[in-house]
Amino acid sequence: MTWEIALLLVQDGISTGAIYVLVALGIVLIFLVTRVIFVPFGDVVGYAALTLAALQLGQMPGTVWLVLTLAAIATVMEVVSLARQGDAHRIPRALLFYAVLPILPAAVVYFASMHALPMWLATLLTVAVVLPISPLLYRIAFRPLADASVLVLLIVAVAVHFAMSGLALLYFGPEGFRTEPMTRAFFDLGALTISGQSILIVVSSALFSFLLYLVFERTLIGKALRATAVNRVGARLVGILPSTTGATAFLIASLLAAISGILIGPIATLYYDSGFLIGLKAFVGAIIGGLVSYPATAVGAILVGIFESFASFWDSALKEVIVFSSLIPILVWQSFTSHTGVEEEIEEDESEGQA
């Protein structure tokens, strides 16, 4: 391997890694606030990329049907549970959040997809229609299990992933897509040629990471998110509703997923199940950060990107094997550095008590 190739691989790795950063930040955010290890997060990224691809091809993206289905289920669940608790006066609000707000972008996309759209509008519509997916999944799959252990939530997350990836095939078919790059510029830096798209990716990733930081530091809802992550009971004692912070975390994460999907679309051919692998690689990054630290997660995600880039140079067929196997030394390292270890978190399953 020459220096030029190594440099090229590093550059390639950093731009992929920058996308993993956004995905991994979303994963960590959701985990810290809701304790859900959101495995289907990568699928949401995939949906975003494929939605944009469909819009660019002038097709109606299946995401519209996904959002409509999820909104219908979530609305029914919310209304039924409100009616049961005798909180009928809160139903209009629920209808706004679970029916109107998700259906609106879906309807716009449905009608807009019949026309040729400028790049910026297609991108914007993609974000708008992907945004409700994660919060709706949260309402349907996870909120009813708010008191369950991390493990149960994880199993549900994996089940949601399977449903999501199955639906993705139905909606988008088995073909691969690659979206139009947002810029075709190239910059020469000595021996190195850097594409405008790579720069766009890195800059966007840094920008949105910084925005996330501002939200956490400067806004009340950001502080509430952090508070929920730091101390769940404490958060409830100051009147923070866990389901509100949960939905917010999922919403912010959904935004990060949409952006990641839009950014990765032009640099890789994506299939209905590619999102999952992207998500898992981001998970490897998040695990490097111990699923707790945002900065460490970002560094970890970049490292995964670079490692993957080298792995595909060594043996492209075994690329995934190499990347995922790297998790094992990472975990070994984690188990000797982390102080928490296995604590009292394996909860007793209440339902077994009646055995």
């Binding site: 495995v39 994996v158 070994v332 394996i346 007793e348 055995a355």
Partner: protein, 589 residues
């Protein structure tokens, strides 16, 4: 076993024996798969339901088992029986390596990493030339025993189900043995397990390897029944199907493996018949249906089918405890009466800016009852955690029977003869009282995994049960030995913990607020018991708030306040100490 449960079992076995005469070969093939999946699910039942560990990578282990024997028999022309050894050895080795890497970490890292290596192993199968890449390996011979070949569907059927039956029997035996109880105790946290001289990490690793080996066995059966292996059935999707089987059947229930495997396989079969009528992507829709089913199951019926059935059946009467020779007492290191059993020297423990224990020194002499008192938040529990090895002091030394134990882990200290109870009762609510007490006997007994699974431990088990009952009787819970610990009142649960500590036949007992929440009469029983123990020469450290209880029982008292030792001496002296009254009894005016 109640008559109706026995009848159900007999019917199930009769049905399975007669099935080849009742059904066509399609159904029998289906039943073969049910048995093969049930074998892998059995591993998950032990892992997830019993041991509290979750794996999405079980299908990958099945794959390792299947490919190991397939490679050896199909490409090297070896015997399936050597293939079996290879399958089991390969899965055991891989499980050990993966387990060693992940099982020290907190709960969710393991399942998360199982997804990752499940995918890695799947891609490996599909990309290795020696394993036939994505086209797989064919020409795998059928299993033979001498002249007897299990080539036909029916022959394979009987073979699979008999092997499965044996595996289930061994697992059942194992769970009802010394090591099995330790595995069952894993669910619910490490603190208790380690305090019983059980190495939680090694126990977890053992369950993980056991689960992997069962998957390997399943893979071996799969390879020789199917006679072909390809990578497809071993991906993560298959892994979650196995997990679904385990959860549908019922977490922690051995028969649940078969029931879950049967239900999921049948649903899958129906879906495969029905879905193609609606869509050309039926395989994908099947995945969607499974995903949704899974979510509904976890939201609505986390206990699984077997628990639902069990609730309808009468609860089995507890097995009577038979007379058996007493367990040998533990070898107690003789400590001269005035020598300290325990000595704490200048112990300091800081949590960030808080100094929880500040330069505390005291000794516990052989045969005395020492009361450790102080206001809530004074640092008593931290002190106990330092003594029992749950926490390590920032500085200072702790010696137990003359040995420095400052840096030893809990289990080593427990093994050296220290037993404890917890301020927040730590029991296994879904185990019976006697099983909970038998956990305390772990360091006094020796049966291993194989001994337990093969029932070669019955003599020791009988003695252990007898001993456990004796300890239960001592604390006044003899009549409740067959009840679930979770059904006891709080006071009784505390007494149960004392019985468990007693079962270890310790040199030193550490009791953390044993009288809290006890009713007057129960307090009296406990007080009498502790007095009796002292008469037998037991050394006890007691943290307690009930002054009457403490003053009437202990020989000496150590008072701590703000993490520091405030006073030490006989009860009468302490009672008269003005500083103690000020600090402890509330002198703010």
């Amino acid at each position: 076993m109640p008559a109706i449960t026995r009848l159900l079992f007999a019917l199930a076995i009769a049905f399975l024996a007669a099935a080849p005469f009742l059904f066509g070969s399609f159904t029998i093939t289906l039943l073969n798969y049910i048995a093969i999946y049930a074998m892998a699910t059995l591993g998950l039942v032990l892992l997830t339901g019993v041991g509290g560990l979750t794996s999405f990578g079980q299908a990958a282990f099945v794959g390792i088992g299947a490919y190991a024997t397939a490679w050896y028999t199909a490409t090297q022309g070896g015997s399936p029986w050597i293939g079996l050894i290879l399958s089991l050895a390969m899965t055991a080795i891989v499980a050990t390596v993966l387990g060693a890497a992940t099982l020290r970490l907190s709960g969710h890292f393991l399942p998360l990493s199982t997804i990752a290596w499940g995918i890695a192993i799947f891609f490996l199968f599909g990309n290795l030339d020696m394993l036939g890449r994505y086209s797989g390996l064919s020409g795998i011979p059928a299993i033979r025993i001498g002249q007897l070949s299990f080539e036909g569907t029916t022959a394979a059927y009987y073979f699979c189900w008999i092997v499965l039956g044996l595996a289930m029997l061994l697992c059942h035996n194992l769970l009802d043995s010394r090591q099995g109880r330790a595995i069952r105790a894993l669910r619910g946290g490490t603190a208790l397990v380690e305090s019983l001289a059980i190495n939680a990490f090694r126990m977890r690793l053992a369950v993980f390897v056991l689960g992997g080996v069962l998957a390997g066995l399943s893979g071996w059966l799969y390879a020789h029944v199917q006679r072909y292996v390809g990578p497809a059935p071993f991906d993560v999707r298959a892994g979650i199907e196995l997990l679904l089987m385990a959860l549908v059947g019922g977490a922690g229930q051995i028969v649940g493996a078969v029931i879950g495997s049967a239900i999921v396989t049948l649903i899958k079969n129906i879906l495969q018949d029905v879905l193609p009528a609606f869509t050309r992507y039926s395989a994908q829709l099947e995945v969607v249906v499974f995903g949704v089913l899974f979510i509904v199951l976890l939201q609505k019926a986390r206990g699984g089918v077997v628990l639902m059935i069990k609730r309808l059946l009468p609860r089995p009467k507890p097995r009577p405890v038979v007379d058996a020779p007493a367990l040998p007492p533990r070898a107690h290191q003789q400590t001269a009466a005035q020598n300290p059993v325990l000595s704490v020297r200048n112990a300091v423990k800081r949590f960030g800016a808080l100094i929880a224990v500040n330069d505390v020194s005291f000794e516990v002499r052989s045969g005395e009852v020492l009361g450790l008192i102080g206001p809530n938040g004074a640092g008593k529990s931290t002190l106990l955690n330092l003594i029992t090895g749950v926490l390590k002091p920032n500085s200072g030394t702790i010696r137990f029977q003359g040995t420095d134990i400052t840096t030893l882990p809990s289990r080593r200290i427990a093994a050296a003869g220290m037993a404890r109870t917890f301020q927040h009762v730590k029991l296994r609510p879904n185990m019976t009282c006697i099983d909970n007490v038998m956990l305390g006997l772990y360091p006094r007994t020796g049966a291993g995994f194989l001994t337990g699974a093969l029932r070669l431990d019955r003599k020791e088990e009988a003695s252990a049960r007898h001993e456990a009952l004796r300890q239960l009787q001592r604390v006044g819970l003899g009549g409740k030995y067959g009840d679930l610990a979770g059904n006891l009142a709080l006071g009784q649960q505390r007494l149960l913990e004392v019985a468990r500590a007693l079962a270890a036949d310790p040199t030193l007992m550490i009791l953390d607020e044993p009288a809290a929440g006890l009713r007057r009469l129960e307090k009296q029983t406990l007080s009498d018991l502790l007095r009796g123990l002292r008469a037998e020469g037991m050394t006890i450290v007691l943290v307690e708030h009930d002054m009457e209880f403490v003053m009437n029982l202990v020989d000496r008292i150590v008072v701590v306040d703000f993490g520091a030792k405030l006073a030490e001496g006989e009860p009468a002296l302490i009672r008269a100490d003005a500083r103690v009254q000020e600090a402890y009894l509330g002198g703010v005016a």
